[in-house]
């Protein structure tokens, strides 16, 4: 098989131009490349989120995949219903995909998701994590990082973000992966891996959001890279319990130094007033996270 590059990726577009995403939307990049990897035989279900808006308002739509919009907390249950209906009708070859935001996943939707994962429902769950309720005006979610200002924590959040991929890994599902739209080849490959597996597969995407995070839209890809290079967000996959790092995260795991978090923090207006103390706390959070990776034996190279 030819090595996958930006040039050898399939030409077919499932996301049409003229959608309603914001300028510089990280979700658009992930959505476009993710759908290419998922291919033709897919049914999506989407809760209240930016994606609802991106896909367009009745009676027009900007995508070429069938989609059932559903209530905020129901993505995984909705996917389970689509799966059950398709199975009952003998349409087992269709891939069912739930695609929700971080609020819809780690806050209001975690119950239905945990239930579906416990049942090992055969579907792919995608959480696009822009670290807050960005579609409703930038409110805090369980996935907002420490120190970030949102409209419901105007002085900066006082708690660290929930580790959603590890919560999902604790369900012992066949596949958990973290993905960044700044690394589209890695994104495409992980979507493809997920597609060819059975059972509950969970992909966690860190999605830079210009209006929510406060940076110039042209820097979306750069901000996404900075998050990975400083170790705030790490690229890995867990197959049947085994964690493997990818790309820059693999290099960090094998001894390359991480960038300091400060540059990443200072590049975003949501951290505009944070003191050096907060920067140090975030650095400490990252350091501890990487220490625990080491303790768990994830950083050993094969």
């Amino acid at each position: 098989m030819k090595k996958l590059t930006a040039v050898t990726m399939p030409d077919k577009e499932y996301m049409l131009p003229g959608n309603r995403s914001c300028v510089g939307c990280g979700l658009s990049i992930a959505y476009r490349h993710g759908l290419k990897a998922l291919g033709d035989s897919v049914i999506l279900t989407v809760p209240a989120s930016c994606l609802t808006v991106l896909q367009g308002m009745y009676p027009v739509s900007s995508m070429l995949v069938p989609c059932l919009n559903t209530a905020f907390e129901t993505t995984a249950a909705s996917a389970a219903g689509i799966r059950a209906g398709l199975d009952a009708l003998g349409k087992r070859d269709v891939t069912v995909v739930g695609w929700a935001g971080d609020g819809g996943t780690s806050d209001i939707g975690i119950q239905a998701l945990s239930g579906a994962a416990e049942r090992n429902t055969d579907f792919i769950y995608i959480c696009y994590d822009n670290e807050g309720y960005m579609n409703t005006g930038t409110q805090r979610s369980g996935s907002t990082p420490y120190g970030a200002v949102t409209s419901t924590c105007p002085s900066g959040k006082l708690e660290h973000k929930k580790d959603m991929p590890m919560i999902m890994a604790a369900h012992n599902i066949p596949y958990v992966a973290t993905v960044s739209p700044s690394y589209p080849i890695d994104l495409y490959e992980k979507f493809t891996t997920a597609k060819h597996m059975k059972g509950t597969r969970y992909l966690h995407l860190l999605i830079p959001c210009p209006p929510g995070w406060g940076y110039d839209p042209r820097y979306t890809v750069k901000i996404g890279r900075m998050a990975v290079l400083c170790g705030m967000f790490d690229l890995y996959e867990i197959i049947n319990g085994k964690l493997s790092f990818y790309g820059p995260s693999l290099r960090i795991a094998t001894g390359e130094p991480r960038e300091p978090v400060e540059a990443y923090i200072r590049a975003q207006n949501r951290y505009r007033d944070v003191s050096m103390e907060v920067v140090e706390m975030l650095q400490e959070w990252v350091d501890k996270k990487w220490e625990s990776y080491k303790k768990m034996g994830y950083c050993e190279t094969d």
Partner: protein, 416 residues
């Protein structure tokens, strides 16, 4: 547990089984070839879904059973499975039904023919697991149809009719029956022949199928006003779509009537919009929903024997509210007053059925009084004397005129 007994039906040889109301609902679901079942256990609904799980695991029934982690997910699974083209079923009550509330709107708004069995139970707080009808009555404004049953045979027959009705109207249907009073009480039930059920109920044909071969975006954001599509055709706004649901529901009274008539033709048991007992020449009419109307027949016999002209009307169809049919039926009895006895309250006013009935009578110029009586909440026993007490009170108003006939709602056998 079901005990087999030989028996005959009017038009076909039907087996007679002794079973609870919950099992009657489960047997009906099996007869309807339901393809996806999803439910979460709650007392007194659990035996419905336990029986269905037995059918599925034994291979007696070919269906997907999704054992979800909440009622909210149960109804969501039903919605999505119905969208891809499967015939679906769920059952719940009380707090579980209340948890479903948001998705009940989604089910009706998506125009899905979901059928749900509801063994009616009181809603907390405080905790109570026994029977009243507050749970389903509290869901009356969600766009679901509601049919109430008086006995276990009606439960089985109504579930079968519910699929036919739902798939004709393209609206979901709740089949409601009193928890314990029917759900856990053994009664003889005639089991319809499965071939005849298939004749009565053709396979489900969805109005829209979610299929990768013809991608659609179902239930996207829809603005209030109509909007042009890519071909320049003006399409409905939110308000038009909601109005179509209302129009279908209002027009569905005749669908329910037809489904009941046709059921009678095939199975020998005809069903209508309402049931009457000794209503001819009645001065006072007792109106109720569910098993209370059944129990009231004995009371009425006693009171008739004592010279009081009283009849009973059971409202089988509560949503859509068959205003015209009921007003006409009340007028035709020539009664002067109606006493509505019900196991629910619209808190801050009166029994919900009473309010609806009053509105229907007012609209259709039927000049009778209608009094609201609340009884049997949280499983409080309703005795013959309780029903008698309510009817006696209203009977005393028959000679009154004008505003003197008006009376506030009363709670029977409540010691506050």
């Amino acid at each position: 547990m079901s005990i087999e007994k030989k028996g005959d039906c009017m038009t076909c040889a039907e087996k007679v089984l002794i079973m609870t109301g919950n099992h009657a609902a489960a047997y009906a679901v099996k007869l309807c070839d339901v393809q996806v079942i999803s439910a979460y256990p709650i007392t007194p609904q659990s035996p419905v879904v336990e029986k269905l799980m037995e059918f599925v695991e034994s291979g007696e029934m070919k269906a997907e059973y999704v054992a979800v982690e909440s009622e909210h997910s149960a109804i969501t699974v039903c919605i999505s499975a119905s969208v891809v083209g499967a015939r679906v079923f769920t059952a719940s009550c009380a707090n579980g039904l209340a948890l479903m509330h948001e998705m009940l709107h989604w089910a009706a708004g998506t125009r899905l023919p979901i059928v749900m069995a509801i063994p009616n139970r009181a809603v907390a707080a405080p905790w109570n697991i026994l029977n009243d009808q507050q749970d389903s009555i509290s869901q009356r404004d969600t766009g679901w149809m509601q049919i109430y049953c008086r006995n276990n045979q009606e439960i089985l027959d109504t579930v079968i009719q519910a699929y036919r009705i739902a798939e004709t109207v393209m609206a979901p249907v709740m089949v409601c029956y009193d928890g314990y009073v029917l759900s856990h009480t053994l009664m003889p039930v005639n089991m319809p022949d499965e071939k005849l059920v298939r004749e009565y109920l053709p396979p489900y044909r969805p109005h829209t199928v979610l299929d990768p071969k013809s991608p659609r975006n179902i239930n996207p954001v829809t603005l209030a006003d109509p909007r042009m599509n890519a071909e320049g055709v003006l399409c409905h706004g939110y308000m038009e779509l909601r109005s179509l649901l209302q129009k279908s529901l209002l027009g569905s009274v005749s669908v329910v009537a037809e489904a009941g008539r046709e059921f009678g033709r095939i199975f020998g048991r005809e069903y209508g919009i309402y049931d009457s007992y000794r209503t001819e020449d009645a001065d006072l009419l007792m109106v109720s929903i569910g098993s209370l109307a059944s129990e009231a027949m004995d009371t009425v016999d006693n009171m008739r024997a004592a010279g009081m002209k009283i009849g009973v009307m059971h409202l089988r169809l509560y949503r859509p509210f068959p205003a015209e049919v009921i007003a006409k039926a009340v007028r035709e009895t020539g009664c002067r007053g109606v006493a509505v006895l019900e196991k629910n309250v619209s808190y801050g006013y009166e029994g919900a059925v009473c309010s609806d009935l009053k509105a229907a009578l007012f609209d259709h110029g039927v000049d009778v009084f209608a009094h609201s009586y609340i009884l049997g909440l949280g499983g409080r026993n309703v005795s013959v004397s309780d029903i008698e007490e309510a009817l006696n009170r209203s009977y005393g108003y028959l000679e009154k005129k004008g505003p003197d006939r008006i009376k506030g709602q009363e709670w029977i056998n409540c010691r506050v």
